[in-house]
Chain length 316, copies 3
């Protein structure tokens, strides 16, 4: 899509060359064929060193752009960015794609839907009521239980087990907010990648990324009702007990253990081999690996136990 069309859609002016744009991405990751954006002066350094050539930007940030940049001047970059994502949203279902490819020895129930463009490995089981979206990929020997939904463009590795009711690739929860309190959808044009040997329990929800991928790495096991927000990265061999949630863009290292009803804020980085006892509420990144944590606000598990004793004494 040409920048001129995007500018026209946003009812805004384009400056510089009318480049062809393939997709959108955040500033730190955008490449030369992607449209990016900056919403605040704090990104001025990132702007000048960006590999991107096309920007949504406010007038006051133009001076920080690379010399050869094309840019669309927006009065509210956040809103314009949200509106622009709609232009890059793929079709819900793409009937023009070739029929799905199904590997040897796979069983696709007649009551399952596998959309065009999907690729199913060998030895896969897709049970009744399951949905595999356009261009999604399911690796060898994976089991997709009844009534699982895999949105388009998502990837599930080999030897995975996805239990019923689980939804992989629904839109991340992203909106820009107008001054009058309305919420403008940021289309979530990324995907979800589930690596090999992952088991996901019943009625989980793993949201697709706004750009790029939400990723669950090899060997991780999720219990029921796990919420993984957009752009998270869950390391290898993690364990998530039921009813836990992870906020957007948070990254956990390998072999973390997260007990029931715990939750993580967005944009955190959690060191590998961290353990969280039940109902931990994690709001800050953790740099040192191997710790055991509890409580909300979060603290060292031993400290939390000691504190509970102190609190109980208030009643005596």
């Amino acid at each position: 899509m040409y920048l001129s069309k995007i500018a026209s859609y946003l009812d805004a002016d384009l400056f510089g060359a009318d480049l062809e744009i393939v997709s959108m991405n955040e500033l730190s990751l955008a490449c030369a064929t992607q449209l990016t954006f900056a919403v605040h002066k704090k990104y001025s350094k990132e702007l000048s060193s960006s590999r991107a050539k096309a920007f949504l930007i406010t007038q006051d940030l133009v001076e920080f752009l690379p010399l050869d940049a094309s840019y669309i001047i927006c009065s509210d970059v956040s809103i314009s960015m949200a509106k622009a994502t709609k232009l890059f949203a793929p079709k819900l279902i793409d009937f023009e794609l070739p029929h799905a490819k199904i590997g040897d020895g796979s069983y696709i129930d007649a009551m399952a839907r596998v959309e065009n463009g999907a690729i199913i490995g060998s030895g896969v089981t897709v049970m009744a009521g399951a949905y595999i979206g356009s261009c999604s990929v399911v690796g060898d020997n994976t089991i997709i239980y009844p009534n699982v939904t895999l949105y388009r463009d998502c990837v599930v590795g080999s030897d995975c087990i996805i239990h019923s009711g689980t939804v992989i690739g629904a839109d991340g929860f992203g909106f820009s907010h107008t001054k009058t309190g309305e919420h403008i959808k940021i289309y979530q044009n990324g995907n979800v990648i589930i690596e090999d040997d992952v088991e996901i329990g019943a009625n989980c929800a793993i949201d697709r990324a706004v750009f790029n991928s939400t990723r669950i790495k090899k060997g991780t096991k999720l219990d029921n009702f796990i919420h993984i927000a957009h752009n998270c990265e869950i390391g290898e061999y993690c364990i998530f007990v039921a009813q836990t949630g992870v906020g957007g863009s948070t990254k956990l290292g390998r072999n973390c253990v997260v007990s029931g009803q715990s939750a993580f804020s967005d944009h955190l980085e959690i060191a590998p081999f961290s353990t969280f006892t039940a109902r931990s509420g994690v709001t800050k990144s953790i740099k040192q690996s191997g710790g055991i944590y509890s409580g909300f606000p979060l603290m060292d598990h031993k400290e939390w136990r000691r504190l509970q004793g102190k609190i109980a004494k208030l009643n005596s």
Copy 2:
């Protein structure tokens, strides 16, 4: 249905005219063709001023009834009310209704079920595995993702997005309890109304009202795993982050922001523009708009932060 039939079903005596009854409703809302009920003397004033003409009632409350009232004397009104709701429960699926009406340019997947009597607007997408119940309505341009369930008689507005696994219109959680500890189902004969431009994430559950409607107003956005109980009213442009729950009949004003894992008790009224940080537990109504709250028990956010500091010091 005639009162005499209801009395007979309840094995109770009817006094007054044998009126034809269309439905049931709570005392404050019931009109002349609805059966209502009073379970306690505290409703004596409401009884005498009620527009209703038909009552389930205990002997001791008869004196407060309007003069022309018809009434059925019950030894346990709560139990009789529950039993009576069963008589008004519509069929699960109504095959005798005319075929669903589908608007221009709508796509209904061959693996979706749209029951008779449903009305689908134009430009709607109903994907595989989705279920649209009898007499339900879906507005223009709305997207119903795979494996969504919309129970009968419910309404989804225009330009809505309903993500996979979400259930709209399942029965509210309502029972009357016998003295020996059994639970008698109160049939939930109301519905759900989702207004325009609402987005609902994956695996949410919005329960139908016992009488009347559960309502989610225009422009509100729900993340994944949101529980909205029967008879709630969620105002315009609210934001609900994942894994939050709202108890029955609670009403939130417009532009409330509810962070992850928060919850509200039933029968609350929450002022508009209220913000609740993660894991807020709201058990009292909030009258002043624009506040920021935290904790369980709930308090002002700044107070909560200060309190956490004080609590942490107990350990030193």
Copy 3:
């Protein structure tokens, strides 16, 4: 399956007679045709009195076995047990079974899947998108709403109502852990039994037992988003409000009331008629019936209320 085959699969040595084994079970429950296991010396007494004849065991526990026992020596019993469970996992779908039996007056939607070997009572409604697994049983007059999933070998009683999105019989969350941090699946070869007159709300998950049964007893009512882990036993006439979870093998007595967002650790025993207010976190068994509890850590409800007052005063 013969022990020799199991030993070979585990690449381990068999001692004693090559018995034919029907299934696996835990030490305290295993009978003569079941393979069992002991992972620790603390089970030495149970070992010597076990009715089982076939064991996975470490060398140092051999001395405690019954004299006529057959046993397979494992270096890591926990891992070998997990691997062995795979040998006993039934087929996901068993096409060789006879067609499902459907009772008189039952309605099975053409878009529902009822696998071979299932038995559906009379007057049952199975709506579009519902899935009834191989050999599962659904009792008379039960309603299975759209997009419910009932895994194979599970039982739902008579007069039950199962709301949309609920998953009954997905695998319990059980793994053995290698020294290098991988998780080896313990196949969950048990089932779920839902007794009569149970109502289960939308998007619940009741996991199948690892061995034997997860059980929900007569007349219990679950709201939405209830997580019941493997091998739980929920007593008669319990009430679970939304977003609560129960850890593995925990047993609740009859008429317990569990308010929203509460949770129970695994392996607890909870006395009948216990009440838990919202967000209770239960980590210890409760022996005395009729108590009311709150908080996490859990305490008597009145004590908790008093404590909240004391905590609030810290800020003054």
